[in-house]
């Protein structure tokens, strides 16, 4: 009698051989990832369209001239400074979020609460900065469907402060529409993120995760929050730097 097991009867132990979770990721987290992938497509479409418009026009508003104010400090002359502050705030809040996740792994409730509060404050500061930025541009005359206009002055003259090379009304309008749409959509995401953060903070305080034995929900919301930061990295490059 042979004691060797036939190849067919051998129990397979591979990741995909059944009996185990092949991705080793919890269902809700997978779904969050897949949602983020689809959201990445939405943002990509927006940004690629922005790129197309900019590439297709012979002239485009110069970001260094459109964005050069620092609210409450200077009305003009400081390109990139204010957006630099915003970028720093968002990266910082991403770090506090990841620290909250790390504290969650250790089931350290107090630390989770602390870092979540920091993250929420960072998010609120960012949205506040964005509101200031929008207000500034709106006062200058930029909005969906409108660009700076002065009675009796030629559009070329009115728009001159925003362009370096040629001046185009069409470009200015495209720029305004896309700026408010894309940063608005991003700001909406940040606002939703703040709301989710507040909800999980409440759940942490109510000991929901302590009773559940896992702080996985912090991780899922964290994924969303990092994604918002990720999108901003691209918005920052394509709207302000390039």
């Amino acid at each position: 009698m042979s004691t060797t097991v036939s190849q067919l009867d051998k129990v397979k132990t591979g990741r995909w051989s059944g009996g185990r979770s092949p991705f080793d990721v919890e269902y809700g987290k997978i779904m969050m990832w897949f949602f983020l992938v689809s959201d990445a497509f939405t943002f990509s479409s927006f940004l690629v369209y922005y790129g197309t418009q900019r590439f297709a026009h012979l002239t485009w508003p110069d970001p260094d001239k459109v964005f050069q104010s620092v609210p409450f400090i200077a009305d003009s002359g400081y390109p990139l400074v204010f957006v630099g502050i915003m970028t720093f705030i968002l990266i910082m809040s991403s770090v506090t979020m990841v620290l909250a996740v790390e504290a969650g792994h250790r089931n350290a409730k107090k630390e989770v609460v602390g870092w979540m509060i920091a993250t929420i404050i960072g998010g609120l500061m960012f949205v506040g900065c964005q509101a200031l930025e929008w207000t500034h541009l709106h006062h200058q005359g930029f909005w969906w469907g409108s660009i700076p206009y002065q009675e009796g002055v030629s559009p070329a003259e009115t728009l001159a402060p925003y362009f370096t090379n040629g001046i185009s009304e069409v470009s200015a309008q495209q720029f305004a529409n896309l700026f408010f749409t894309i940063t608005g959509f991003h700001g909406f995401h940040v606002s939703v993120g703040i709301l989710l953060n507040i909800i999980v903070l409440g759940m942490t305080l109510a000991n929901t995760f302590e009773r559940r034995g896992t702080y996985l929900m912090i991780e899922k919301v964290g994924l969303y929050w990092h994604f918002v930061d990720l999108v901003w990295v691209f918005v920052f490059t394509f709207f302000y730097l390039v």
């Binding site: 990741r15 995909w16 991705f23 080793d24 990721v25 919890e26 997978i30 990832w33 897949f34 992938v37 990445a40 990509s44 690629v48 369209y49 790129g51 197309t52 418009q53 590439f55 297709a56 026009h57 012979l58 002239t59 390109p79 990139l80 630099g84 970028t87 720093f88 990266i91 991403s94 770090v95 979020m97 990841v98 620290l99 996740v101 790390e102 792994h105 030629s154 559009p155 070329a156 728009l159 362009f163 090379n165 040629g166 001046i167 185009s168 069409v170 896992t214 991780e219 964290g222 994924l223 990092h226 994604f227 930061d229 990720l230 990295v233 691209f234 920052f236 490059t237 730097l241 390039v242």
Partner: protein
């Protein structure tokens, strides 16, 4: 769920430092090199900006979103589809070049 490898506090701050350093480099290029007139705004600078942006994106996704520590199958199922974004960029560059050469002269505001 077992977490084999996590982000320690030290690692988190290190990644934060990298992100900050890359952003600082972008600011250096924009404010010192481009505004200072050392290099001209154009394709070369934009390529550098985009590469730095992608590097930042890598650090955020790989470390902050923890994707680097997931299984190979999961990494593939979340990243490979983004090839369609690359495809869209190629398509829109083609389309944009067409628009630029055909439509623009008519909508161009003559500068004074």
């Amino acid at each position: 769920m077992a977490h084999h490898e996590g982000m320690t506090k030290g690692k988190i701050w290190r990644v934060f430092f990298y992100l900050l350093a890359i952003t600082a480099l972008e600011f250096f290029i924009a404010l010192v090199l481009v505004h200072g007139g050392i290099i001209a705004k154009g394709l070369a600078v934009n390529v550098v900006y985009i590469l730095l942006t992608l590097l930042k994106a890598y650090y955020i996704v790989a470390y902050f979103m923890h994707l680097k520590f997931e299984t190979f199958g999961f990494i593939m199922s979340t990243t490979v589809v983004l090839i369609f974004v690359v495809y869209l960029i190629v398509l829109m560059l083609t389309e944009g070049a067409y628009m630029k050469s055909h439509f623009n002269p008519f909508s161009f505001w003559p500068s004074t």
